[in-house]
């Protein structure tokens, strides 16, 4: 009876959770309460206070400011990766799904190989090739994500292509481009949005993983994964140093996946 209300509650919850991390992240691009780089020996591992609500790290830097900056790096890399991967993947998937043929077959075999590989390892390999750094990680992840987008969109195009309404459109004299763009693409939007949301989450987790390993985002850029790896040494003395960036990742990913469930 209150199925609809419950469903809405789920998506509102998702939006709220996402906003908790994303809004500070977006603010963090332009402004942070303190300079996230300023080292202050007297505040080393300081506890929470009014001035520093999350305390300070091992160099005495304000954790809140670093979380804001780190979230914004993670968020931007996630967005960049997903946009790059989705645009190229949709293009490849649409063309191969629509036209089929030899190119489709070869590309999809290649795709299968890429996909049978764990995405984190793929990203690691690309980072090994490109080298670390904010933008290189984004590139590496975007390339690593193209195959999964291509596969999803290809399957959708293949499915919709065989619908009778597409045949009817063909009989109405629509060109290939018009069929793809006007008749097929709008009917794949739901799947595409879902793939983008899942892709965003995977990108966030992959970036955090790479930075945690020290081969992702490099200092002076802050990143949630990097903070986690720095915090490990002080796990016993200052567990909140590890928990806060970890929670930021979880809340962001959880929020987006709740929104994604709604789209489904």
């Amino acid at each position: 009876m209150n199925l609809r209300i419950k469903k809405n509650a789920n998506s509102i919850m998702g939006i709220v959770l996402t906003a908790i991390v994303v809004i500070p992240a977006i603010i963090g691009i332009f402004w942070t309460p303190y300079d996230p780089e300023t080292i202050n020996g007297s505040l080393k591992l300081a506890g929470a206070s009014w001035a520093h609500p999350f305390g300070c790290d091992n160099f005495g830097r304000d954790i809140l400011s670093r979380i804001m900056l780190g979230s914004s790096t993670t968020f931007l890399i996630g967005m960049g990766t997903v946009i790059g991967g989705a645009v190229v993947g949709t293009l490849v998937g649409a063309l191969t799904g629509f036209y089929g043929g030899v190119i489709d077959e070869v590309l999809m075999r290649f795709n299968d190989v890429m996909l049978s590989f764990p995405s984190l390892l793929l990203a690691l390999t690309f980072v090994a090739i490109f080298g670390p750094g904010k933008y290189r990680v984004m590139w590496a992840l975007a390339i690593a994500f193209v195959p999964s987008f291509a596969r999803i969109i290809r399957a959708e195009f293949k499915r919709v292509k065989n619908m009778d309404y597409v045949k009817a459109a063909r009989l109405s004299g629509a060109s290939d481009f018009r069929i793809m763009y006007v008749h097929i693409l709008p009917n794949t939007v739901k799947v595409l949005i879902n793939a983008v949301l899942i892709g965003f989450n995977n990108a966030v987790l992959a970036e955090a993983g790479l930075s945690f390993l020290g081969i992702g985002v490099q200092p002076p850029d802050a990143s949630l994964g990097r903070m986690l790896s720095d915090s490990q040494t002080y796990l016993f003395t200052k567990p909140s140093y590890a928990i806060i960036p970890g929670m930021a990742i979880i809340v962001m990913v959880l929020g987006v996946s709740m929104i994604g469930k709604e789209v489904e």
């Binding site: 619908m163 309404y165 045949k167 009989l171 004299g173 018009r178 009917n187």
Partner: protein, 253 residues
């Protein structure tokens, strides 16, 4: 072959048509399997006639329909159209209308692509066609999801008529519908055929419906036409065992 229509104008000629599909490979090493669907189909259609095409599932009747309209590749043979823009009505009204577009967009699509009519002229024509299939023009703003099966099939018929075709291919247009709706759609098709002088290739598995609507009937089995004649001729005096069996099963003989 029947010669009842020889004094009329031909609208479609199908000559020795072969179609085979290759099964999609499941792995890189599978050999492509070839499946013959149509094995040498030849027939003519003339202006103003309704031809029934009867056969059981898998006999290739849908493939024949699509091949005639160039919707799949043919292996061998000729298909000659003597009219412009032949159209098709599909079996499942639930997947023959684009769910993300309004009825108006769907109806005007062909006019946008193939004519120079302006916005107002297009809308007028869409309204007129809708009216002809028994729907009033407030349906223009609806999306297919808001319509019933019978209403959708009416929209499909209107859509098929937008370019003023002379030849219509109807692939089991009523088998997904309830009996009473079926009767309405059949009546509608018969009326439109008279009004617009259409030729209709009516594909069906239901010999009774074919009897009611069609002048001529072709019986199809395993990708071949095994019988072709006027409905009365064929029903009264079937030449093949298969046709007899079909008539018996339908409780006609």
């Amino acid at each position: 072959m029947s010669d009842v229509c020889n004094n009329q104008t031909r609208i479609l000629e199908v000559k020795d048509l072969f179609v085979s599909f290759t099964e999609e490979k499941s792995s890189l090493f599978d050999k492509k399997k070839k499946i013959d669907v149509l094995n040498g189909i030849s027939f003519d259609m003339y202006e103003g006639e309704i031809v029934g095409l009867v056969g059981e599932s898998g006999c290739g009747k849908s493939t024949l329909a699509k091949s005639i309209l160039g919707l799949n590749k043919i292996t061998k043979g000729d298909i000659i159209h003597y009219s412009q823009y032949p159209q098709m009505i599909f079996q499942d009204p639930y997947n023959s209308l684009n769910p993300s577009k309004t009825i108006e967009f769907i109806l005007e699509e062909s006019l946008k692509n193939l004519t120079k009519l302006n916005v107002e002229e297009r809308r007028q024509k869409a309204k007129k066609r809708l009216e002809q299939v028994g729907l009033d023009d407030h349906y223009l703003i609806h999306k297919p999801g808001e319509l019933s099966g019978g209403q959708r099939q009416r929209v499909c018929i209107a859509n098929a008529l937008m370019l003023d075709p002379k030849l219509l291919i109807a692939d089991e247009p009523v088998s997904a519908l309830d009996v009473t709706i079926q009767a309405q759609i059949i009546k509608l098709l018969a009326g439109l055929q008279k009004e617009l002088g259409l030729s209709i290739l009516f594909i069906s598995h239901d010999l009774r419906v074919v009897y009611e609507l069609c002048d001529r009937v072709m019986i199809m089995k395993d990708g071949k036409i095994i019988e072709d004649g006027t409905v009365d001729e064929v029903y009264r005096n079937p030449q093949t065992d298969y046709t007899k069996q079909l008539l018996l099963s339908a409780g006609i003989m």
